[in-house]
């Protein structure tokens, strides 16, 4: 054991190191290079090698069975409960097998970190690459939009901050534009499909940094990571600024926890200053990248300084200055027209809860099950975290830093409803610390190795995973796009000349990935919100749509209706006229003609008025 490790363990109130589990001799000798390798790599005897490699059999076999089982899935059959409705048992059993194997290894006195780590890796691959493999097209409408914004920046080489909010926080798009051009890609679409897996793999290192700063117990470390991945249903890891900003946020928290929050290992002044500089640079990148994450960062660093004794006391002031400076000088284009609406939401907790919870509980019964799974999963993680917090407090272990960072994002609820997503984001920001606290609680169950205790932990994890597959992939019927949806949008760009008004019946739609500023993008749900008020003379839907089209860019307005929009309306409802009804009415109307059709998409244009020229 190195002196540094010893110091950290002693200061964390864990003088014996891994209190209840003596480390295996081969791992305790961290000064030997061989200790870093999986033990079987350094052994000659075949029997020992087989014994050492045995813990790998389950994750390896699970991955193989899982991969083979995905070949037979028909994405067209995805139902109201999402991907789980088409996943065969052979794709779900491997998840259970890896979870049970992980818990069995966790319960062993000689649990090796690399074995637990490989189980976590197998879980990450299975959970976060499944959609990339099963679904024929990349999912999530915003991911396509983000491709379009990066493409606009790359092709124009400029930033028009009046286009929309994205151009006022362009950090992510600058990096994407740079990479696509340097890699010789036409656009960033090839990066979208595998982004969730890539981001989750990238989260591994900062999560390890964070949890290893909070505990020296190897089992808590890996269980915390397993729980993080098994419960992160928020799906904010797609191709997006928030996914990248979250990565940077984890790194900043990791730096502050490891080197600046007691108990800290002694670090000479020069590297300490350099580490602080890295944290500040990463904070600046977060501020330039995303609207909400900087406030989660500020809340976190403030909580660390105020409640956990973090010695980097200038960081909250620096982050505040970065946010204020960026908003004051770099977002004028957006703020000048939106400041009032942003400020009016501050403190409206009732409105926030209404838009974040009440408005989401509705739609198809299958979707309600998905929402229930999300609420239950979040409540379960927070409940397990409370259990872990209680156990740590009872045992006299340090808990202030984890508690401070777990609670820090909750004040954001009073700041903004964030389009009905603030509760999701708060759950995400709190998750690493909730997972750590939950892991600390669950490890207590298996402190004494026994099959029963390992199985009990397995049952908890499998139950969480069961909720996860509904919560995470429950909206896939609308979030995932069919080839017909994508081909329909491609046809829209082919038919509509630049400058046209493109109108989606509702959402989602895989568009805006090109010519971001070359067209005007609208939705009928915004242009025609809801039915006409009672008492007003009823005007047929087709006439109202015609009026909308005629008032925009006459002759160059296009309405597109796709399978994904109909699925979205069916699943979560709509504030306007359902897409299916729009399609039926426009099909039957003589005012419109079908400019393009495939089984999943239809494009309509207004017929010229009789006697009109051109």
């Amino acid at each position: 054991m190195t002196p540094t490790t010893e110091t950290r363990q002693a200061r964390r109130g864990d003088p014996q190191g891994i209190t209840d589990l003596p480390m295996p001799a081969v791992e305790a000798r961290t000064d030997e290079p061989r200790a870093r390798l999986p033990p079987f790599l350094g052994r000659v005897a075949l029997g020992e090698t087989a014994r050492a490699a045995a813990p790998l059999i389950v994750p390896a076999a699970a991955l193989l069975v899982w991969a083979l089982s995905l070949r037979r899935i028909n994405p067209d059959a995805i139902g109201a409960t999402g991907l789980v409705s088409v996943l065969p048992a052979t794709a779900l059993v491997p998840l259970v097998a890896v979870s049970v194997s992980f818990c069995v290894n966790l319960g062993r006195r000689r649990a090796a970190g690399w074995v637990l780590g490989l189980h976590v890796l197998a879980l990450v691959v299975m959970l976060y690459s499944v959609t990339a493999i099963v679904e024929p097209e990349p999912a999530f409408e915003p991911a396509y939009r983000h491709v379009g914004i990066a493409d606009h920046i790359a092709s124009t080489g400029g930033l028009d901050t009046t286009i929309d909010a994205y151009f006022n926080w362009p950090g992510f798009f600058v990096v994407v534009a740079l990479i696509t051009r340097l890699a010789g890609l036409h656009d960033a679409l090839p990066l979208v499909r595998w982004a969730p897996l890539a981001f989750n793999l990238l989260y591994l290192a900062p999560l390890l940094l964070i949890v290893r700063s909070l505990t020296t117990d190897r089992r808590v470390v890996w269980l915390a990571l397993f729980l993080f991945y098994a419960t992160n249903w928020t799906a904010q890891d797609y191709f997006s600024p928030q996914a990248t900003a979250y990565l940077l946020l984890l790194v900043v928290f990791g730096i502050l926890l490891r080197w600046f929050t007691p108990p800290v290992a002694p670090v000479p002044p020069a590297p300490r200053a350099a580490l602080l500089a890295v944290a500040i640079v990463a904070s600046a990148a977060i501020v330039a990248m995303h609207q909400l994450t900087p406030f989660a960062l500020l809340a976190g660093v403030l909580a660390l300084v105020l409640f956990a004794g973090c010695t980097a006391r200038l960081v909250p002031a620096l982050v505040t200055a970065l946010i204020a400076g960026w908003v004051a000088f770099m977002t004028i284009g957006f703020m000048s027209g939106n400041l009032h609406s942003l400020l009016s939401a501050v403190g409206d907790l009732g409105g926030t809860l209404s838009s974040n919870v009440a408005a989401r509980i509705g739609g198809d019964p299958g979707h309600r099950l998905v929402v229930d799974a999300r609420l239950a999963l979040t409540a379960a993680v927070w409940g397990l975290a409370a259990l872990g917090w209680w156990r740590l407090r009872r045992d006299g272990r340090p808990v202030r830093a984890a508690t401070a960072l777990f609670l820090a994002p909750f004040p954001l609820l009073a700041l903004q409803p964030y389009g009905g997503e603030i509760l999701i984001r708060v759950a995400l920001f709190a998750l690493p610390f909730a997972a750590y606290l939950a892991a600390a609680g669950l490890v207590g169950l298996i402190r004494t190795p026994s099959v029963f205790r390992s199985l009990s932990t397995s049952v908890v994890i499998v139950a969480l995973l069961a909720a996860f597959v509904f919560a995470r992939y429950g909206n896939d019927r609308m979030d995932a796009f069919s080839p017909g949806d994508v081909v329909g949008v491609r046809a829209l760009y082919r038919i509509a000349p630049p400058g046209s008004e493109l109108i989606a019946a509702s959402e989602p739609l895989p568009w805006q990935y090109r010519d971001y500023a070359g067209y005007t993008y609208q939705r009928l749900t915004t242009l025609l919100p809801g039915p006409p008020p009672r008492g007003r003379p009823h005007r047929p839907l087709t006439y109202r749509i015609r009026d909308v089209l005629a008032s925009t860019v006459p002759g160059r307005a296009y309405v597109i209706v796709t399978r994904s929009q109909i699925a979205g309306d069916d699943l979560v409802g709509t504030s306007g006229t359902p897409s299916r009804l729009v399609m039926q009415r426009l099909d039957a109307s003589r005012l419109f003609r079908v400019a393009y059709a495939n089984p999943d998409a239809r494009i309509y244009v207004l017929r010229p008025a009789p006697g009109a020229r051109g």
């Binding site: 400029g158 740079l178 010789g184 890609l185 591994l204 900062p206 990565l247 000479p268 890295v278 600046a284």
Partner: protein, 115 residues
């Protein structure tokens, strides 16, 4: 300089040279995408982070990726805001930063982290 540090210096310099060569050659291949992703998202940050001698692979990777993203954003963003958007020139700056930081330990007689 330890063998690990020397190996990293070699990897970083080779990655920088390869990224530059692929860009100049204009090769359209998945290899170019892989090299550019590796170089832009890992190498500039790693060139600095390994100077810290953290002795923790996870910490080094985490910090390297964060710093690389921030550097790419800073250099690319500066070019964009100043109206001088040029991905090739941005890459050249990142290559220069990477190589300078990668070979810095060679130029130093003794690392400041470990006497």
């Amino acid at each position: 300089m330890s063998a690990v540090r020397a190996r990293w210096t070699g990897i970083l310099v080779a990655s920088a040279v390869l990224a530059g060569a692929l860009e100049v050659a204009g090769l359209h291949s998945p290899l170019r995408l892989a090299v550019i992703l590796w170089f832009v998202l890992v190498c500039p940050g790693m060139a600095f982070v390994r100077l810290l001698d953290l002795d923790d692979a996870a910490a080094e990777i985490a910090l390297a990726v964060a710093l690389s993203i921030a550097l790419a954003m800073a250099v690319g963003g500066a070019a964009l805001y100043s109206g001088l958007w040029a991905p090739g020139a941005t890459l050249a700056i990142l290559i220069a930063i990477t190589i300078a930081a990668a070979v810095a330990p060679i130029a130093r007689a003794r690392p400041w982290r470990r006497p």
